[in-house]
């Protein structure tokens, strides 16, 4: 393990399977151990690389607790390009980049024009010329980070694209689950809600199955159908089948406007059939933890009592979010 007490030497550490996670400091040469320029989705990461991300995030979390000053990104300019309203993810990335010594700029993107597909590439090109080296991109359209990565010579970190992917969320969820369960190998994880429109769910399917878990999906048919042949994924007709003996349960935020699309007749019926409470969780493993990417609609997809209970890891997810984003930024900057 890395000697976190000694922050002044360059350390190379073989992770599981031989991926070298390096931790260069300012007076040591940088390693070239991380093979990826961008983080577009977790599907690009091998299991060893996933584990390496989680390990580095653990170290980041510890160093942050000790209020250590880190300068892995000194000289870097991290641009936050949030073309869709977001507070939690943006703040988490901002704290992570600042904790690593980067200069952070918030990019003035007109949400209405970007969602019309008018100016993403132009905007990013302009920013690249002004010195931004890494762009944290949140976008309403699936695939937008791929366009950005092809068009502009900066590192792209996908902070959520449409219904497609939210890789740092999946990594922090995987870390939270690994901490709680020891390992994900052979574990049963249930995800409940609108899987079809969820970038969080998709990235979690990649990450959790890659780490050895089986994932059970439950929700209204229009929201869970289509995932049946995803390796390691099961679509349950009934919520209790997904929850039975589950080692952990994740529920997703219900987008209130989606009920109009024919997914469910009403929020009331959603809550009656798929809302999580302590009684429904009785069929899961004793004490199985509950996760939620936030922000929650308490009383809709999860009861307020359950969200505030000891089983809830919602607060831990937020803490892990900053550490994981620090780890990702540090790895990409190598």
């Amino acid at each position: 393990m890395l000697d976190v007490a000694n922050g002044h030497t360059t350390r190379h550490r073989p992770a599981a399977g031989g991926v070298v996670v390096s931790w260069p400091d300012h007076d040591a040469p940088a390693s070239t151990g991380w093979p990826h320029r961008h983080l577009l989705d977790v599907d690009q990461l091998t299991r060893d690389e996933l584990e390496a991300c989680l390990d580095l995030a653990v170290e980041m979390r510890e160093r942050r607790l000790r209020r250590e000053t880190l300068d892995l990104l000194s000289g870097e300019v991290v641009g936050l390009a949030f073309c869709e309203p977001s507070t939690r993810t943006r703040v988490s990335f901002e704290l992570a980049a600042e904790a690593l010594g980067a200069q952070v700029v918030e990019l003035p993107i007109d949400v209405s024009s970007v969602t019309k597909g008018e100016s993403l590439v132009d905007t990013l090109r302009t920013l690249e010329r002004t010195g931004v080296t890494t762009v944290i991109l949140r976008h309403s359209m699936s695939g937008a980070p791929y366009l950005a990565a092809r068009s502009v010579p900066v590192r792209i970190v996908n902070a959520g694209d449409g219904s497609h992917a939210h890789p740092t969320q999946a990594l922090l969820d995987a870390l939270t689950l690994r901490d709680a369960l020891g390992s994900l190998d052979g574990r049963k994880i249930a995800i409940v809600g609108d899987i079809g429109h969820s970038r969080v769910a998709r990235s979690n399917l990649h990450a959790l199955t890659a780490l050895g878990a089986s994932v059970w999906l439950a929700g209204p048919p229009a929201w869970v159908r289509g995932f049946e042949s995803w390796p390691g994924v099961h679509v349950a007709d009934r919520l209790e089948d997904a929850l039975a003996d589950a080692d952990a349960v994740m529920t997703l935020r219900i987008q209130l406007e989606r009920e109009a699309g024919g997914g469910v007749p009403s929020l009331r019926e959603y809550t009656a059939r798929w809302g999580l409470d302590a009684d429904r969780l009785a069929v899961a493993q004793t004490g199985a933890p509950v996760l939620h990417p936030g922000p929650t609609n308490e009383g809709v997809e999860i009861t307020a009592d359950l969200a505030a209970s000891e089983r809830s890891l919602i607060g831990t997810q937020v803490v892990n979010g900053v550490a994981m984003r620090m780890a990702v930024l540090a790895l990409l900057a190598q």
Partner: protein, 462 residues
């Protein structure tokens, strides 16, 4: 060196020696000499002694190709294509007739606008026929002045870009068209099922988090229009068919004797929905990577979500592309039509979901077809029938390679290959995911109405 001619050029005279001449109109397929004298096909033995002799060995001669579905963007989007540039692209691809769709800005929904395009089409590198709008403003409510338009020689009517959404209007159109002998060319897409979708529903769309267009969006309009055609005696032609279900419905309707015809694009035969995820291989190739494993395989960041693959109707799953190919092979599908849809760079260099749908196809259609032939999925004679003879018949043009007819043909080298590059395309646009690919089949000469409209080499020999 390649060069373009036009229909205003002097009539051609030459003798092509030793080429494989395929004429689907007579089921002819023989290696022989072929003579063109003053623009007419003639007996080579009687050709003038000073007629240029061209070496046709290794080359194939087929009927001039006929495209039932092309967007020329004039008027309104001349940066993307004009009648002139589109006609050249057609000649480069071996086409001698193209049918221009009416969804221009403004649309071709009244006689004066149709006349304007016909005027611009005079003496270009191919014949340009016009398909007029089916309803005013393509709004799906009031039908256009079809009688007057028919007298101007339109090839049919269509609100392409959308279906005629109202069954009542579609029924009225078919009834009005029936005695005129012209088709309603239907873009079969039920807006209630398809609006908001950017690719075909299925595993790839689920993987990519893109809203999916269910196959039922096509089938519901196909079934509706078949019922309306049966009732009215009208002729419905389904263009750019993209689903196996729609194909089955058409096959059954044809068996019942209902006046139904259809076409399919080269990209719906050869490309699949996995192209949106970045797979690059034809439908008849064994899929690998994300083409074989839509959920498990990592996306290729350089190719995933390529806006060049955004097209409407969206690319089909592999099994359906193969079903469509079988439909061409057995003749259920009458024609291959390109839906050549040029777009300027700024409408394609954006997020996948924001990109204008469509890809160009005039210059690659024959090559895509030849790739299917080389793979053993299609017979060469059947390909040339679907690209030339049969679509020609549907718009009242007879294509034959018999002596005495006006020469209207394509001469190509099926063994040669070429690389698709923007600089090598005659179209004003280059929006195709085939850029950079090496394709079989190089057109050496196109002859339309007895005039050489395109020529690449094929110089006279001693």
């Amino acid at each position: 060196m390649s060069s373009f001619g036009s229909l205003g050029d002097p009539a051609a005279t030459f003798v092509l020696r030793g080429a494989r001449v395929i004429d689907p109109s007579t089921d002819g397929d023989a290696i022989r000499d072929l003579a063109v004298v003053d623009g007419q096909l003639a007996d080579p033995a009687g050709a003038p002694s000073d007629a240029p002799r061209l070496d046709g060995r290794g080359l194939v001669v087929g009927p001039g190709l006929c495209d039932l579905h092309v967007h020329l963007r004039e008027p309104g989007m001349e940066r993307a294509e004009t009648v002139e540039s589109g006609a050249r692209a057609a000649a480069h691809g071996g086409f001698t007739t193209i049918c221009a769709m009416p969804n221009t800005e403004p649309p071709l929904d009244e006689p004066a606008r149709v006349a304007m395009v016909l005027d611009r089409a005079r003496n270009r590198a191919c014949r340009v026929r016009v398909i007029a709008a089916a309803t005013r403003g393509r709004e799906g409510e009031r039908i256009t002045e079809i009688g007057e338009l028919a007298a101007m020689g339109i090839a049919g009517v269509s609100d392409d870009g959308s279906a005629v959404a109202s069954a009542r209007v579609a029924r009225g159109l078919l009834a009005y068209l029936a005695p005129l002998g012209l088709p309603l060319i239907e873009h079969a897409e039920d807006p209630a099922l398809a609006t908001g979708s950017v690719m075909r529903a299925g595993e790839t769309a689920t993987r990519l988090g893109l809203a999916g267009w269910p196959a039922s969006a096509e089938l519901s309009i196909v079934e509706r229009d078949i019922a309306l055609a049966a009732e009215t005696g009208g002729w419905v032609h389904f263009t750019h068919l993209s689903t196996a279900g729609g194909l089955d419905a058409i096959r059954r309707a044809k068996e019942r004797g209902i006046h139904v015809t259809c076409d399919v694009t080269p990209h719906h035969l050869a490309l699949t929905d996995a192209w949106v995820a970045g797979w690059r291989g034809f439908a008849w190739d064994e899929p690998t990577g994300v083409g074989a494993d839509p959920f498990g395989a990592p996306l290729d960041a350089a190719l995933a979500y390529d806006p060049a693959c955004r097209v409407n109707p969206p690319l089909s799953p592999r099994t359906e592309a193969l079903a469509l190919l079988a439909g061409v092979a057995d003749g259920t599908i009458d024609a291959i039509a390109t839906d050549h849809a040029p777009h300027p760079r700024e409408r394609k260099g954006v997020e996948f979901g924001a990109a204008a749908p469509g890809m160009i196809g005039l210059e690659t259609a024959l090559s895509i077809g030849l790739a299917a032939v080389q793979a053993g999925s299609l017979d060469l004679g059947r390909l040339l029938a679907a690209l030339g003879t049969r679509p020609g018949e549907l718009i009242g043009e007879r294509r034959t390679l018999e002596a005495g007819s006006v020469a209207d043909l394509v001469i190509f080298d099926p063994a040669a290959t070429w690389r698709v590059e923007a600089s090598g395309l005659a179209s004003a646009s280059s929006n195709t995911p085939l850029l950079g690919m090496e394709l079989p089949g190089v057109v050496r000469m196109t002859v339309a109405g007895g005039r050489i409209t395109y020529r690449d080499g094929l110089d006279a020999t001693a």
